[in-house]
Amino acid sequence: MNKIKLPILAVAFIAILFLTGCWDNNDVSDVAIVTAIGIDKLEDGRLAMTWQILKPEAAQPGMEGGQAGKAYTNYTAAGLTLNEAHKELIRISGRKPFYGHIQVILLGEKLAKEGIAEFIDIFERQYEFNQTVKVLLTKDMTAQELLEAESDLENLPAIHLMNLVEANIFTGKVIDLPFFKLVMELEREGRSTVISALSSKSKNDKSTIKEMQIEYAGIFRKGKLIGYINTVQVQSLLFIANQIRQTLITTEHPLSPDKQISVEIVRGQAKREVSLSEGRIKGIVYVDALARIAEVHETQYSLKPDIAKIIESETAGRIKQNLVTLIDMAQDNYGTDIFGFGELVYKNEYGFWKSVKDDWDEYFVHMPIDVFVDVKIKRAGLIDKPSKAR
């Protein structure tokens, strides 16, 4: 037995020597590491794909900036499907793109308006695609234009864009939407997706990311962009969706309305409920927020518990006002359920859902939604009363 192993080993060894490095062995230096993708729809209906490809020798941490030029390069190719564009890229760049470390996907406005379902398929099918990549929209510009913008902070714009989303956990004004969550949300019954959008501050200057802002979020109905909401509304939406980690509410001081006060929400918890009575669905939103006072411009009053109570109710009122505005807007302006009440109906009142399934958005528009907001201020920072200029 052992004697016979030797020839087998020899044959195997020779075979393997011939096979070295073939099939799926792609050296990391031979693939094009894609850090960001932008997808646009062209006028002629084709899909254009823009890749931000890493140039590792320039991106290496030890390297002096500028020595090797930019750390990335952009390629754009178009095709009827994204895979066509993908192959076209190989043709023009000479490297096989590698999507395992993609940081951000940008969806052009035109594509979003005509439906984002088209772009999802390839990335779900692709075996090495990074499923946790952030998805962003571009407003009033194409994804390609956005990817051309340089970053003055990071050597890769893609990283900068990703950080823009990541850091906004602390502002509560941007929706952190990884790719897989987008897929899940699109598939959910009775819920419309909202994706944060990047737009340019000024019409003309699009050369750096500094000029960009995440000021809006696009609302989708059945995978098609139908409109935008602004950051305050995004904040309200996140409140309702129970996704607030931290955010800031600035209101007038209740006792002297010309002075501002900022309350930082450190934990927001929301509960959505639907109740079915007499064949009518009613929606209820409860928001419970823990807060601390972050900044007070009013120098007259020290923060006594009774004043804190007043500030609590004032903040709660402000939040509620925001929420109600958003709900009204969703119902009246867009007529689509971005809060997922339909999903709740589907899950809890399945029998009823079956009857309204096909025209849930119609139903949603007329659905009464009650909002209850409760804010509890726990802390007020290191001082009691602001210093007063005498």
């Binding site: 099939w23 799926d24 897989f180 899940m184 859902w353």
Partner: protein, 360 residues
């Protein structure tokens, strides 16, 4: 030469590996959507019953392999015919698992590597380990099988933040029928496939521990699988689970910060290999016993070589593979997993009672 004997813990490990290994990748209850857990529970309970049937068959015909039992209960001719069918079934099962292996590797990491090469490598490992003897395999299994639940557990904990308990609602949205159908599917894959172990039971050192060992293993494997099924429903949401070819692989990709699909690979490799090994052993031992030869090792490599070609022949494409697994396999496996064993049990009981009457 020492006679091959397995300890209780080794048999138990093989059993857990067999049940858990490849099923944890494929999520056997995906087609029942959010009621998958219920379907799985039903399948699991039915599985325990059918495994109890297998154990009873063996205990009524002690120290006999499936072939021996078939021959002594159905008579020489009919027993041989059914035995050949069983040998085919085990071989077919091995080929199916090998193909699953290959397709998984092909889809997930090695899209350009030729399928026969991957399958051949897996099969070579199986043959090597079986040629060393089933007891060596069992010993290796003892070392490796505890790693599989560990790997799944890490993935599960990593995506725990995505768990949304409302995903199991609405319960029984489409009525009980799809749940029962899926439960039936769960019974045939993986629980009913343990019919292979009728060839392995005679190797157990202490027959008295058989019932306990197998029962505990079934419960443990069922619990672990239940965790997987529930995880997929709660964290991935039912629709995604249903669409994904390998929900476990998708789950591993959602792990925060780093991508840990190699863990899933480990899972596949260990669990799948154990399953192929048991199937191949069952098939080789069945053919050896049917033809009255002395050593199953002589037939092993040829059978494996055949099953590799069979596994490539098996399906034209992956679509057929999934379609077969869902809609045909449960019915195809029905006679092997349920009908014949139940018949065997009945005949064995009748024979046993009549013998007892004769002696008394």
């Amino acid at each position: 030469m020492q006679k091959v004997r397995l300890s209780g813990i080794q048999l138990g490990m093989l059993f857990v590996g067999f049940l858990y290994g490849s099923s944890s990748l494929l999520n056997p209850a995906f087609s029942a959507l959010q009621d998958g857990w219920l379907a799985f529970l039903i399948g699991w309970m039915l599985g325990i019953i059918i495994i109890a049937v297998y154990i009873s068959i063996y205990l009524l015909n002690p120290s006999q392999t499936l072939i021996g039992i078939l021959k002594s209960n159905f008579g020489r001719f009919l027993g041989t015919v059914i035995g050949i069918l069983y040998a085919w079934y085990f071989l077919h099962l091995a080929a199916i698992v090998l193909r699953d292996f290959g397709e998984f590797s092909l889809l997930v990491i090695l899209p350009n590597t030729p399928l026969p090469f991957i399958i051949g490598c897996f099969a070579a490992l199986c043959v090597y380990s079986l040629k060393k003897g089933i007891e060596v395999t069992a010993r290796t299994g003892e070392l490796l099988i505890p790693l599989i639940p560990l790997a799944s557990l890490i993935v599960t904990l990593g995506i725990a933040r995505l768990i949304d308990f409302s995903n199991i609602k609405p319960v029984l949205a489409n009525g009980i029928k799809p749940v029962l159908t899926t439960g039936f599917g769960v019974l045939s894959f993986p629980f009913g496939e343990t019919v292979c172990f009728l060839m392995v039971f005679p190797l157990l050192r202490k027959r008295s521990t058989l019932r306990k060992t197998v029962f505990i293993s079934t419960v443990i494997a069922g619990l672990l699988l239940l965790i997987i099924v529930v995880r997929d429903i709660l964290a991935l949401n039912p629709q995604l689970t249903q669409r994904a070819a390998f929900p476990a692989e998708l789950a591993s990709k959602l792990f925060p910060v780093i991508n840990i699909y190699p863990l899933i690979l480990l899972n596949l490799l260990i669990g799948g290999t154990i399953k192929v090994i048991v199937c191949l052993y069952a098939s080789a031992a069945a053919i050896t016993e049917l033809s009255g030869l002395s050593d199953y090792k002589a037939l092993l490599s040829s059978i494996t070589g055949f099953s590799v070609t069979l596994s490539i022949w098996l399906y034209d494409n992956v679509m057929q593979m999934f379609e077969f697994a869902v809609s045909t396999y449960p019915y195809y496996a029905l006679p092997f997993q349920i009908i014949i064993p139940v018949l065997l049990l009945i005949i064995s009981i009748i024979r046993r009672t009549s013998e007892r009457r004769k002696t008394s």
